[in-house]
């Protein structure tokens, strides 16, 4: 049987990759993808915990549902904003959108 730790480590790796993506990528959409990775990792965590440690209440699973919902909505909203910025600035690179600083 696969022990719980495996899932946790897996999600940790994915999460960290997501973090890396957010830090490294320039394109706003790519950043969003990385964030999606992170959220996935989190929901994986939750479900793993739910399945292994919380069989009766499975709160984690519910949490995962909400996370997925929010994530989807977030992507939608974020993309709308990206497009909006693209319309204004003809770029979707986050480090070019740096009028506001200092």
């Amino acid at each position: 049987m696969v022990p719980l730790e495996n899932y946790l480590v897996l999600s940790a790796i994915v999460f960290a990759l997501g973090v890396y993506g957010v830090l490294a990528r320039r394109n706003a959409v790519l950043v969003l993808m990385a964030i999606e990775l992170m959220l996935n990792a989190v929901s994986l965590n939750f479900i793993a915990f739910a399945a292994y440690l919380d069989p009766g209440k499975i709160t984690g699973a519910i949490f995962a549902v909400f996370i997925i919902t929010v994530a989807a909505a977030e992507v939608g909203l974020a993309l709308a904003i990206v497009i909006r910025l693209f319309r204004n600035r003809a770029t979707s690179n986050v480090d070019e959108a740096a009028i506001l600083k200092w």
């Binding site: 990775l37 479900i47 499975i58």
Partner: protein, 168 residues
């Protein structure tokens, strides 16, 4: 036994896809890899015997989200002047550093914590759809309502922000 082998394969796949998502040079490839990774996670849900969520995962992520992302990519193709600009920012090495560090920490946490003080049996229990629905609609009604409001907000927001105004 077989499940474990499969698990490892899938785990490897997920890591590979995720890595591809964040490392690949081409935007579109990243998108594809993302789909892969999301699907992989969905498979993991199957391992955890949460079929419903796996389904949701496939539908929402594999479907809606990725489509949305691809759409956005299309809409924001910045190589109108032809040259695809660099996808990675200047702070990439530091990103590697921090990402690696965080990974180390989190793995350490995952491995270094005693998750079962009570000594619960180390096997996933089947999470039936009815349990989920029971919990979701009976116990977590309130968040559900709030979530609906949230979706409404996102909807409205997306509309008013993305809507083309005259003069654009």
């Amino acid at each position: 036994m077989a499940t474990e082998v499969l698990w490892w394969i899938f785990a490897a796949a997920i890591v590979a896809f995720s890595a591809g998502t964040v490392f690949s040079r081409s935007v579109l490839h990243s998108a594809i890899f993302l789909i892969g990774s999301l699907a992989g996670v969905g498979a993991m849900y199957l391992f955890l015997t949460v079929e419903f969520l796996a389904l949701v995962q496939f539908l929402i992520y594999g479907g809606a989200v990725t489509v949305l992302i691809l759409l956005a990519l299309m809409l924001t193709r910045s190589d109108a002047r032809g040259t695809p600009d660099a996808v990675n920012g200047p702070q990439l090495p530091f990103a590697l550093l921090v990402g690696g560090g965080l990974m180390a920490v989190l793995i350490g946490v995952a491995a270094g914590t005693d998750w079962r003080p009570g000594g619960i049996p180390d096997s996933p229990t089947n999470i039936g759809i009815e349990t989920i629905s029971e919990r979701l609609f009976a116990d977590f009604g309130a968040p559900f309502v709030i979530a609906s409001a949230l979706l409404l907000v996102a909807l409205v927001g997306a509309i008013i922000l993305a809507r083309q105004e005259e003069g654009e």
